[in-house]
């Protein structure tokens, strides 16, 4: 079954088109910071607690805060119900996501403490590690964790011979390559880079460039989401005063 017909993908998108994205910040009461992201049918919730005391104390780093990250998928998030126990994939993703966010955070500000980050996938349609990073960055900024920049993330890949942006699940499963990237646009630093599949050098370079462009677009949506909360209050309050 062809995945791209007349330069239109299974969901009607053009090869370089992102799925519709919606981001909200500060939606959970207990967490110090939180964010909800919808990218197409993928739905992700992220929350941050900290910096706070780390128990047991012997795990603490005397020079910087620990960033502890847990990527997890709800049992009802996938086509077939999955066990809530963490899979090997969950463990690997938790680690690469942590490594994607660490360069952005001023961990040295809070030695011996921990910053706990939880990413829950409520519905999965591909691109969950990237959407998870997008949500996590917004949650970290929402929590007031000091950061060098927001981290954005987006995957590119090869499907039916075309280099495409933001693969949905079926494209990831049936396509030739998948390249998730996390990027800090103001600093121009790549903090997550993975690939599986087959790409020539030229295809790899094109896909990477495309992924970075995707990151830059999503970055704007992250910024919008953070500002929107405060601007909404401004408008509400301005109305009262007027």
């Amino acid at each position: 079954m062809p995945l791209i017909v007349d330069r239109r993908r299974v969901d009607g998108r053009k090869p370089e088109e992102l799925r519709p994205i919606k981001i909200e910040s500060g939606i959970l009461e207990n967490a110090d910071g939180s964010a909800y992201v919808e990218q197409g049918m993928t739905k992700i919730l992220a929350a941050v607690y900290g910096p706070k005391e780390l128990h047991p104390k012997h795990l603490a780093d005397p020079q910087r805060a620990l960033l502890r990250c847990r990527y997890h998928m709800a049992p009802f998030s996938t086509e077939e119900r999955r066990s809530p126990a963490p899979s090997r994939r969950d463990v690997e993703l938790s680690k690469v996501i942590r490594n994607a966010l660490e360069p952005a955070i001023f961990l040295e500000e809070y030695p011996r403490s921990t910053i706990d980050l939880f990413i829950e996938v409520l519905q999965s349609d591909g691109g969950t590690r990237c959407a998870g990073i997008v949500a996590a960055s917004v949650a970290l900024a929402d929590a007031g964790i000091p950061m060098r920049d927001l981290v954005s993330a987006c995957a590119a890949g090869k499907v039916d011979g075309h280099i495409v942006l933001d693969l949905c699940y079926v494209e990831d499963q049936e396509g030739e390559a998948d390249l998730p990237v996390a990027y800090m646009p103001k600093l121009r630093q790549i903090t997550l880079l993975q690939m599986d599949g087959l790409l020539t050098r030229e295809e790899f370079e094109r896909a990477l460039k495309l992924a970075i462009r995707g990151c830059e677009q999503i970055y704007e949506a992250q910024r919008e989401a953070l500002k929107r909360r405060y601007e909404a209050i401004e408008r509400l309050v301005g109305g009262e005063g007027a």
Binding site: E53, A104, G144, Y230, I233
Partner: protein, 226 residues
């Protein structure tokens, strides 16, 4: 680059050149960038950001409101809302060693709320050190405790104390402000609830100018509402 008090986000370039990097900013080359979401403040030679959310950064000399969470051999662990729990040594409460047959819980117990001053802290140290010896310090017997973002405490005080004196007058409450964002209101039940509602409003709207008047109006409407 930005207007005074404009909302900025981590990574935003606030200034270039000979500025000092103030609170919630960092310097990269000759650029000063924001490190937290907040309102940018351009000073004479310094650029800083008033963070809209951040955890408490303990400083020596700060008066804080904390909750006793554990009792140890020689003192108490106190939660002051910062990244690390603080420690209160018994000698910084009673000025010496207690007699061995008096359990420490008789002095302060888990769940007690105390007003304390930070007498020692350095990033590389294990935890902030507190004392409750001094005027206005010690255990709080009753009152309503509210938590706001520590960076917003100056807004609760207001320019030349305008906000806090209005709150004290209109609600008839006594208020204890901790630099760590914990505030205690002590007064009538209604008065305490009005303070809590006002603080919630300050927390939510502190980035919109005209705050003191709005809060004043709000409290008046609460009083009329009965």
């Amino acid at each position: 680059m930005f207007e005074q008090r404009e909302l900025v986000l981590p990574g935003d370039v606030l200034a270039r050149g000979d500025f000092k990097a103030g609170d919630n900013t960092y310097k990269v080359g000759d650029e000063i960038r924001a490190s937290r979401v907040g309102l940018v403040e351009y000073g004479e030679d310094e650029v800083s950001v008033i963070a809209l959310n951040s955890c408490y950064d303990p400083k020596v000399g700060d008066v804080v409101v904390g909750k006793v969470v554990d009792v140890e051999i020689n003192g108490w662990n106190v939660d002051i809302g910062g990244p690390l729990e603080a420690f209160l040594n018994v000698k910084d409460v009673i000025g010496g060693q207690p007699s061995p047959d008096i359990p420490l819980t008789r002095i302060y117990d888990v769940g007690d709320v105390v007003v304390a001053k930070i007498i020692g802290f350095h990033k590389t140290m294990m935890r902030p050190l507190l004392t409750t010896q001094g005027p206005g310090l010690g255990k709080v017997g009753r009152g309503l405790m509210v938590r706001i973002t520590p960076t917003k405490i100056p807004r609760v005080i207001g320019r030349k104390g305008s906000m806090i004196s209005m709150l004290l007058k209109e609600t008839g409450c006594k208020m204890i402000l901790g630099q760590n964002g914990y505030i205690i209101a002590i007064g009538s039940r209604k008065g305490e609830e009005m303070v809590a509602a006002a603080l919630e409003k300050i927390e939510r709207e502190c980035h919109v100018p005209g705050l003191t008047d709005r809060v004043h109006e709000f409290i008046r409407s609460l009083k009329e509402g009965g």
